[in-house]
Amino acid sequence: MCLAIPMKVTAIEGDQDDILIPPVATVEARGVTSRIRLDIVDRMPRVGDYVIVHAGFAIHTLAPEDARKSMALLQEMAGQTDDNQPR
């Protein structure tokens, strides 16, 4: 049930403080586009951020740097050098 890959936010409608119409984001990953709810996400994403999605709702926003930081940590654990870090 968990979709592991973060999805990229391409558009946002509505805002967090409007209690009648929950905010919605358009997201994209691996060529698939979908619309997801933002009512329970920890931090409202901006266009260009990534979100982790579960059952049609974003549950976590991550800035593009966050993903890279985590890669760096993995590298350190594996005792690798920094030369060929993917972007």
Binding site: M1, D39, V41, A55, H60, L62, K69, L73, A78
Partner: protein
Amino acid sequence: MTDFAKGMAQGLLSKIKDASSGKPMCFMEVCGTHTMSIFRSGIRKLLPREIRLVSGPGCPVCVTPVGEIDQMIELSLLPGVITATFGDILRVPGSTYNLSEARARGAEIKVVYSPADALEIAENNPDKKVVFLGIGFETTAPSVAATILQAHRNKLKNFMVFPSHKLMPPALDALLSDPEIDMDGLICPGHVSTIIGARAFEPVAEKFQMPCVVTGFEPLDILQGICMLAQQVSRGENMVENAYRRAVSWDGNRRARKIIETVFKPADARWRGLGTIARSGLEIRKKFRQLDARRHFGTREKTVPEPKGCQCAQIIKGMALPSSCPMFSSACTPLTPVGPCMVSSEGTCAAYYKYGES
């Protein structure tokens, strides 16, 4: 895997080997999504022989007791009811038949991807009562709570939730309190932790002197988690570490937890295999009682025995492997499942069957 990823995997594997240095270690991957990823990536075969991985209670469908499945089937057959649910539960055997067979007997059942879809079905079918089966852990509970809030705000009269949510930390506490369980570390669930935060495992780590590492679902994430666990064991530590910082913070998602708290309160819950565990489930608060399918229909769970011979109860606790079940891959296959562990895409028996391990 790219060459780069292969290099990292190799690096992690050799660190795991160094840390374990021949000492047997047994780690439990608590979450069903981890189980699947571990099989898909073949991690078991790559690990040094002394490191054993067992699956835990983290498949929501698998831990739902038969009596509750029966209740869901009973509800689905009521006139004027549409049942909306995630697909996994459909083929889980009840005591006489499953939801899929209930559908053949006239029940209107719709598989949805999100609780929000269930709400839409209710809006489009004002003359029917739509019951969403709320199955899942802390990851699913906030989206169901948000949907309940929305239905409440919009004064929707024909939408209801059958709450059957389960909470992970109390279940781990109950599991590890069993003197027969002997584990060296826990691979803690990724997206459950996104909501509850890595810190939620601290009581378990402390009480049971149990190394805990929260990790993600990519093969490298999992290897890193195992590596950190092996290093903790070799150093004699028992801490909570977070190997999934891109998705999990120490405190978790406060906003989601607040929405859960607004709608639900903790309640005792029954788990297949683990029995009744205090405050390990969620009950809908009185304020939203008109959205509670249990209250509305007044259904009661009957105690029903597990399917005869099925060892899911033991498998959920990491105390048996599918291969020790005489029905595995003979009487019990994904096409003819006897227990829930063979049905769910996160079930341990389904994983062993699909990836041909015994």
